[in-house]
């Protein structure tokens, strides 16, 4: 078990280096931040001075080496815009994003799992067809648009819920529903299809032949076996969730990392873009690592060689 975890942790390193390589070159191609930091009437000499102060006048390989050296110490430099350490600025916005993502994941699992179960139980009947159609419908909704429609309906017309910002539990309702929809649909779809696969397996037929009751077959044999693909999907969906947070947070003015990234791209605030991407990638990679380990424990067929 421990060698397995250690090996998986080692495999994280090349992935992270790859992510940071992409981030470095992307941020460099976005544009020259020095131009944005000086007043419009600044002389070229002023721009050059700002570049020198930010270290932007050095050759790109030198900048990259320095960048990697700093990242190893988790130092992403100072924000060009608000004068604080980039990492600290990102981390201060992380709780808001985690709160939103967690709320969305809970909604998605609470509704998606039972929906998938019922689809598999009622396979081929009208109810299953209705559920399948709803799932595909859910996967088709543009989530920024859903956010706007919810704002129009619950915020503007009915005046039931706040439409922007963060604070009370009421503020959480519309953004988390918006963010949850796509994940909910994916979970319901996976559970249904996976359960149907498992229900067709030999060991289910054996259990039925032994005279095990329908409910017991379903819960003890089928459900237990389709647990690990679902957990794996939740992990992979987390990436979509964190990405979706960029849009959802900007629709609802939610003060999280997603909205902050969008603002920082617009301001060419490289250190913040780099730090935020690093944080999101680390969360994604570590969650999936933990999930793989949980799955390996749940499923004796997975060997940690």
């Amino acid at each position: 078990m421990i060698p397995y975890v250690a090996r998986r942790l080692l495999m994280v390193i090349p992935t992270l280096v790859g992510v940071m390589l992409i981030v470095f070159f992307l941020t460099f191609t976005i544009g020259n931040p020095a131009v944005l930091l000086v007043p419009a009437e600044a002389e070229p000499a002023d721009i050059a001075r700002v570049e020198a102060a930010l270290g932007l006048d050095q050759p790109i390989p030198v900048q990259f080496a320095k960048y990697l050296g700093r990242i190893v110490r988790l130092d992403f430099g100072t924000s060009f815009y608000s004068d604080g350490p980039a990492m600290q600025l990102v981390l201060s916005r992380l709780p808001a994003t985690l709160q939103l993502s967690l709320a969305a994941a809970i909604i998605a699992v609470m509704i998606g799992v039972p929906a998938g179960l019922f689809g598999a139980l009622w396979r081929g009947r009208a109810a299953d067809m209705f559920l399948s159609a709803s799932v595909l419908f859910g996967m088709s909704i543009p989530n920024f648009w859903l956010g706007l429609v919810l704002i129009i309906f619950f915020g503007v017309q009915l005046k039931l819920l706040p439409i922007s910002g963060m604070g009370t539990i009421k503020h959480l309702v519309l953004p988390s529903i918006t963010l949850a929809t796509g994940m909910l649909a994916s979970i319901a779809r996976l559970i249904r299809n996976d359960l149907l696969d498992v229900l067709g397996a030999d060991f289910i037929r054996t259990a039925q032949a032994k005279g095990v009751g329908r409910a017991a077959v379903f819960v003890r044999h089928a459900l237990k076996n389709s647990l690990s693909p679902v957990i794996t999907l939740v992990g992979l969906q987390l990436g979509a969730l964190l990405g979706g947070a960029i849009v959802t947070e900007s629709v609802f003015a939610w003060p999280g990392v997603g909205r902050f990234i969008l603002q920082s791209i617009e301001r060419r605030d490289y250190p913040v873009v780099q730090a935020a991407t690093f944080v999101l990638a680390v969360i994604f990679i570590l969650t999936n690592l933990v999930i793989d380990v949980i799955c390996a424990r749940l499923d004796p067929r997975i060997v940690y060689d």
Binding site: F137, P142, W145, V247, I265, L280
Partner: protein, 282 residues
């Protein structure tokens, strides 16, 4: 083949999808003959006219007008053309890239496979939207740039499936026989591997058309899409956002078209998957 068609014809969800998609296809092909107005024509005296069925509506503007007095129906009809073009182009390009990468990894295995898997892991760990946003911020906004960005981020599902399927095929008797007969790798891939994995890839492609349309509208919504003179659904929707508090139609209507189109594509894709999947034959 005929049994597949027969199964499709009996699948109400597939047929519903076709019904949703047909008008969109007609819009895309015949926009210049169908649209009642020029999508760029601004009639400032008719700014934010509500849809015809609502109080204050104007029958000449069935779905109302936007904040500059442009006909929403005409903009949406022209938008269908752009959205479908983007969806199909992205799927074609990313499908080719992903298949080539996945087959290479699965066929040769070893170090090549390890390297490609690391690249795939990197792409999975990276929020796609962030990559697309950053690249779009660099490139000049434009149709082909947008298509390239979406293709660059969309190849991963094809690569993963192509890799797994190729690896399985590598150990099957008829591929081993071809290797024993000293057939070249190119010949084995073309004659034995690709024909056997193409159906799963086509099914992914069907679902990905919808994903590409959603991604385009998301980028346009964030203001990083195509040039403003092409009326895409995402951009029309984004332009309506400023009037959200007193006019629901400029945001809601383009969104309904995105939703119905992607829903139609997903229904059709799902129907094709069911009809070709041997496990669902009962």
């Amino acid at each position: 083949m005929t049994s597949v068609i027969r199964r499709l014809a009996r699948n109400p969800l597939f047929l519903t999808g076709v019904i949703f998609l047909l008008p969109i296809l007609v819009f895309a092909v015949g926009a210049q003959w169908i649209a009642p107005h020029d999508p760029h024509e601004q009639v400032l005296s008719l700014r934010l006219t509500p849809p015809a069925f609502q109080k204050g509506g104007n029958p000449a503007y069935l779905l109302g007008t936007d904040g500059l007095g442009r006909d929403l129906l005409s903009r949406v009809i022209y938008g269908a053309r752009v959205s479908l073009l983007i969806g199909l182009a992205v799927v074609t390009i990313s499908g080719l890239i992903g298949t080539a990468i996945g087959v290479t990894a699965g066929y040769f295995g070893g170090l090549v496979d390890t390297l490609i898997m690391r690249v795939i892991d990197t792409f999975l760990a990276f929020p796609f939207l962030l990559l697309a946003l950053a690249v779009m911020a660099v490139l000049k906004p434009g149709l082909w740039n947008l298509i390239m960005v979406l293709a660059l981020t969309g190849w991963v599902p094809y690569a993963r499936v192509a890799r797994i399927r190729t690896r399985t095929l590598r150990g099957v008797e008829f591929v081993e026989a071809a290797v024993a007969l000293a057939a070249s790798s190119a010949r084995i891939v073309n004659r034995h591997v690709l024909p056997n994995i193409s159906s799963s890839l086509v099914i992914i492609a069907c679902m990905e058309v919808g994903a590409a349309i959603l991604a385009e509208s998301t980028l346009s919504f964030l203001g990083l899409g195509i040039r403003p003179d092409i009326p895409t659904w995402g951009m029309t929707l984004n332009e309506g956002r400023g009037y959200l508090l007193f006019a629901w139609w400029p945001t809601t209507i383009p969104g309904i078209f995105i939703l119905l189109t992607v829903f139609g594509i997903n229904l059709v894709g799902d129907g094709i998957r069911d009809a070709t999947d041997p496990r669902s034959r009962h």
